[in-house]
């Protein structure tokens, strides 16, 4: 009897092997026609503007906020999954606990909403 994860590992190897092979073979089978303009950043102007991150530019802070919210809600989700698997054996005590958890999390969510954390301009 083999470990049940072995097919997943084989699929992992095949998937990444295929992807690495494709990336590696691309410069070998394709033509090479050097052109300085072709290697510039794709933009409408004649001279490309400095790249936003490496050039010291900024990006909207709303993305940062979204990422933080994702982490919080993802953790909430991670707590809900094990409860859902064993919901029936936990009975009413489990229901009370999970409703309390979701409601207290929801209060923070309402605060975030009222302070405009979910608005996107």
């Amino acid at each position: 009897m083999l470990d049940p994860y072995i097919p997943l590992v084989l699929m992992f190897a095949l998937a990444f092997g295929f992807a690495v092979f494709s990336v590696a073979i691309a410069p070998l089978v394709g033509p090479r026609r050097y052109n300085k303009a072709k290697l510039d950043a794709y933009e409408c102007g004649i001279e490309p503007s400095p790249p936003p991150v490496t050039g010291g530019g900024r990006m909207p802070v709303a993305y940062y906020l979204t990422a933080m919210m994702f982490i919080l809600f993802d953790i909430e989700m991670v707590f809900l999954f094990p409860y859902a698997v064993s919901a029936d054996s936990l009975g009413m005590w489990g229901v009370a606990a999970v409703v309390l958890f979701v409601v207290s999390f929801g209060l923070a969510d309402i605060y975030l909403w009222r302070r405009g954390g979910l608005d996107w301009n």
């Binding site: 097919p7 997943l8 394709g30 510039d40 950043a41 979204t66 919210m69 489990g94 229901v95 409703v99």
Partner: protein, 438 residues
Amino acid sequence: MTETARLLADDPIWLILIKVVALFAFLVVMTLLTIWAERRLIGKMQHRPGPNRAGPFGILQSLADGLKLAFKEDIRPVLADKWIYIMAPVLSAGPALISFSVIPIAPEVTIFGERTALQLVELPVGLLVVLASASVGVYGIVLAGWSSGSPYPLLGSLRSAAQVISYEIAMGLSFVAVIMYSGTLSTAGIVEAQSGGWFFALLPFSFGVYAVAMVGETNRAPFDLPEAESELVGGFHTEYSSLKFALFFLAEYINMVTVSALATTLFFGGWHAPWPLSLIGDGMLNTGWWPVLWFLGKTLMFLFLFVWLRATLPRLRYDQFMNLGWKFLVPLSLVWICGVTAIRGLRNTEAVSSGQFLLVGGGVIAVLIVATLLIPDREPPEPAEPEAPLSGGGHPVPPTDLKVPPTPPRRTSAGRQRLPEGAEGADSTTKEAPDGNV
């Protein structure tokens, strides 16, 4: 341990290898066919033929396109971060290929005399494998945009990442009720639990949230904001060419196939035959190779839904899209989970009879309906004053005393050099037009 896990446990290694290669080939062929079918269907919906030259009905069109891409020049922009730029497509395509391996296609078949299940792996944490691969796939998108060293891909990748993680929350929350009713995270177990009735009828709201989230998660129209051509050129893969670009394309379509197959597995009974057919011959159509047909049929139905949406709906604005995710899907999913939890808990309790349950439930609903009637109507907005004077024909006309602002002097590099030091300030005040445009 489910029946599927027991069947898979004594697979010989040659059978596992065959399955791995077959699944890989299936996904790649599905990608080629989905791209072709999408172009054909959208063509039909827009009264044009679509691709019809390569092979019968143009079915080889995407194969030809893929081959052509392999023989295109592989470009790496000078500003790109070399290794991350090369790694990003791998990180995008790899997880996409992996996440399909937990999907059950058929319960029990015989391949070369070996009894096995048509599923690559059966794990007690099957659903988490899908969620984990989706999360890793986001890295490919973010790193592709970041490493390209160009503004459009960066903006596209930021948008794409924010979109995928936002809708991943909604998607994960829609799983919770399904897990509660099946009592397991294993995909085969969830399909097994639906032998009596499919979950989309039992949990309609969860299915609705999943259906929206799966479109948002895969960056498909009408939620294809990362690729909004009019704003961002091609999105995060603008700077990619050749096979690296092909890998991103492959990942997108495999993800589409995966989320469609997952919708089938979670809400549409997986490989179970649809209702009137499931009664034929005492469930005869749920055995052998028949389930493959039902599974593929349901998956193709969802893929058709993707194409239909793309042909029908215009693209959303980004703030509308984020509002839909964070202000509608996520809060209502949480309320729905609380409701399902409470109802399920009450139903399992001996102390509460069904009559009492219905009575109290009906009372709560009645109170809520009365409460909604008490909410005052929103004040209608004041009719706006017409800003431009209207002439007889009803068309706005410009005011007669309109002052045209003077044309600002053009800024040229030669002109700026000739300006003396003192004229610098005067120059900067005149180059701005009165309306604030530079």
